[in-house]
Amino acid sequence: MSDKIKNIDGITKESTEALIEETLAAYPEKGRKKRAPHLGANDQGSGSACVKSNKKTVPGVMSARGCAYAGAKGVVWGPIGDMVHVSHGPVGCGWYSWGTRRNLVSGINGVTQFAMQFTSDFQEKDIVYGGDKKLKTLLEEAKGLFPLAKGISVLSECPVGLIGDDINSVAKASAKELDLPIIPCNCEGFRGVSQSLGHHISNDTIRDYIIETREFAEPSSPYDIALIGDYNIGGDVWAAKSLLEEIGLNVKATWTGDGELEKIAATHQVKLNLIHCYRSMNYMCKVMEEKYGIPWLEFNFFGPTKIRQSLRAIAERFDDTIKENVERVIAKYDPIMQAIIDEYKPRLDGKKVMLLVGGLRPRHTIGAYEDLGMECVGSGYEFAHTDDYDRTAPEMPNATVVYDDPSEYEFEKFAHALKPDLIGSGIKEKYVFQKMGIPFRQMHSWDYSGPYHAYQGFEIFARDVDMAVNSPTWKLVKAPF
């Protein structure tokens, strides 16, 4: 969306390439060859990817990546609060992903929402004899103990696929027997190269098992939309939804943050799909476009500049009522946002940030930092594809380093050279950089804060960034002796 070439003092294509070269030198030949195409200097003007992506992680490095199961459970399914999600297989996967993604949900725990850890807790004998029978039993038990659950997902862990269980048959039979949607998702962690395939598989599962199985009870309107690819981290969906409603749209379903199974199932009836996280849900947008003729539009709700642009782009898809609403809403929030910028920008102006996150954040949040006067000096994704990097190029300042699935070694090297004032990445990176005295925010989870989406979110984002960058604790890191 940016059309101006941004340059950063001291950063050139040459300096970035030298940095990459130097960083790669530590690898054995084979590793270096594999990694080289994943690191590049941004060519902002080109508007296209400067790195390769979506390849296998190099063995033996510290990658930030997760697996297909993580993408399915953590991203797509977990946020649907009114379903029971069974982590089918050994105890660990479900346990590690239990409550660790901050996809907030409404409802009453154990009654109408089920943000718990359900597992078949495979034992040796389940590996030997198979787990289908156990699955059948546990589905009955779940239905009995949680009568208000709208459905059950069965998320396969690695062993399930390896031992040849047929969860799809069990799901189908049990769904009939229990008169309940039981959704089998073959998202074993060994599939694909990252959580990305988990998203894709889950999208396909929604396509195959869910969409079109429900209809909205109320009559349709021209303003019916679905909010896609917002996972309600720290309440993001609530912030985004209320803004969309403020401009006059009916948000009929949220995918999948604070999601409701039945509304997701009826989404084929909306007029437009608005997608925030392209990576994880473009598949279903495309399906709905092809199958039901529903157009879709990407938008960006981080920071007032991008929000303003996005609102106007959304308005373009509707009539004058919405267009007027949008201008009114922008006029209302502009001064509020300016006040926030006036408060924090003086303390953040010229500060540098580096990002390594997933989904949409490595590109979508750049504008929000820039609203605060900061510059992004490096960005990268855990599990992006070329289309993500294409979209990233115009957002990043020119010649800055782009890294795809970097190892912690690379990331450290880049940080060492670029001396950012803030790093936004994940929990695995957080304490590494904090030990170095570099301010850090977990930008998958908003570091237990949020929401960061929409106008409401920007205030919190700005406060948090300031708090991280300007905490007096950083001054204490170096002992005076």
Partner: protein
Amino acid sequence: MANLLGLEVKKIVATPPEEIERVKNWINSEEYKEQNFARQALVINPAHACQPLGAQLAAHGFEGTLPFVHGSQGCASYYRSTLNRHFREPAPAVSDAMTEDGAVFGGQNNLHEGLENAVALYKPKMIAVFTSCMPEVIGDDLTAFIKNARTKGHVPKDMPVPFANTPSFNGTHIHGYDSMLLSILQTLTEGKQVEGRCTGKLNLIAGCDFNTADYREYKRIMKEFGVPLTVLADIADSFDSPCNGTYNIYAGGTPLEDAADSINGKATMTLGPYATPKTFSWIKDNYAGKHVSLPMPMGIEKTDAMIMKVAELFGKEVPESLKNERGRAVDAMTDAQQYMHGKKFAVYGDPDYLVGYVSFLLEMGAHPYHIVCSRGSKKLEKELQGLLDGSMYGKGCKIYMNKDLWHLRSLVMTDPVDAMIGDSHGKFAARDANIPLFRFGFPVFDRVNMHRYPRIGYQGVIYMVSQICNKFLDIKDETCEDRFFELMR
């Protein structure tokens, strides 16, 4: 047609509020509890993770050691982030990023390439390999793979590469800890036994203890004793390193030389009997010196037992300083006993922790009323029952073996208690029951510095007494009527 299940397409109807209300009450009922306890297959909110997590913890306890997950990189991410969140510290580990083709060809190529890259990038002194599900299911032969790796030069000839099979579909993180620790000790001590040599040192195995302060406390106690010490798997600094501007990927850990020489120790003591049975059994057969297995020293009596055993093993008097510490801990207990006496607790967690909680609570005249272990053994049940039977405060207290935190929720909703002790995952049940949760277990994701205060030893007693009693007093102050709001408590 998106309906592979063939279920009827329906209009969306909201669940009626009165139905929600009914279920809301029902899940707190005796009837529900019975149905809940009748579960055979479904596990809900288990209080345990899988083996590799414990294996990684053990690996971090050795000098310059890089934990290496043979399996998917997603598994490694899960273990690492769990440790990150609990300690709020880095948890460096690599994986060899196995994918689908591993299922076909096995994981040897990944392992070899992984070892080579890991050695080049992270320059470890030792690589500790352990497995996640995939290689376990397909039956990768680690012994052969690692031998080959060495032959082919993927790993330096002299670099120790212990490895452990840690299948996630068997046991919990404590079993992975045991297997990894055993393999590390076997690897490091190989050929190091010297007839007649005695280091004069105590080898102390803390067990799968996720509290760095406990390790520091063991070291401090033995220093007071003047007993030279090798902590086997010393995570004290690994997960509590300074923030000083420099990141040290291998902070802390037991020196490899000390670990190697531990086979010539004067005595070896495990204080995590449930977490290290295999390791201890192997040590008994292979290590010089005396071998002692004692309960984790939580509470006065269990700490006394450790202290006396050390005194006996090393022919030393208990130093005055420790006697005084003991006296101060007892002082804290007598001063505060009225705030805990008669209070009922629900406790859950790993076996070694559970024995400790129960022992401590009984010493304070409190009731460990619901005791839940989501993966325990007959032996554990017997030991816990023995503790209950040995105290009048154990009367009416019950042990629930192989039950999960959703069972625990039914217990605390139908037969209330005053507080819970366990890990952060219990917070949902604690909230529903409107009681405090003392986060003495693992993991703690929602409080700070819990790993920076010991739970073991006399200092651990003072800490637990302080945390529990002061929270009860907070609650009293926060909930009492005005006329009962007082300066003194």
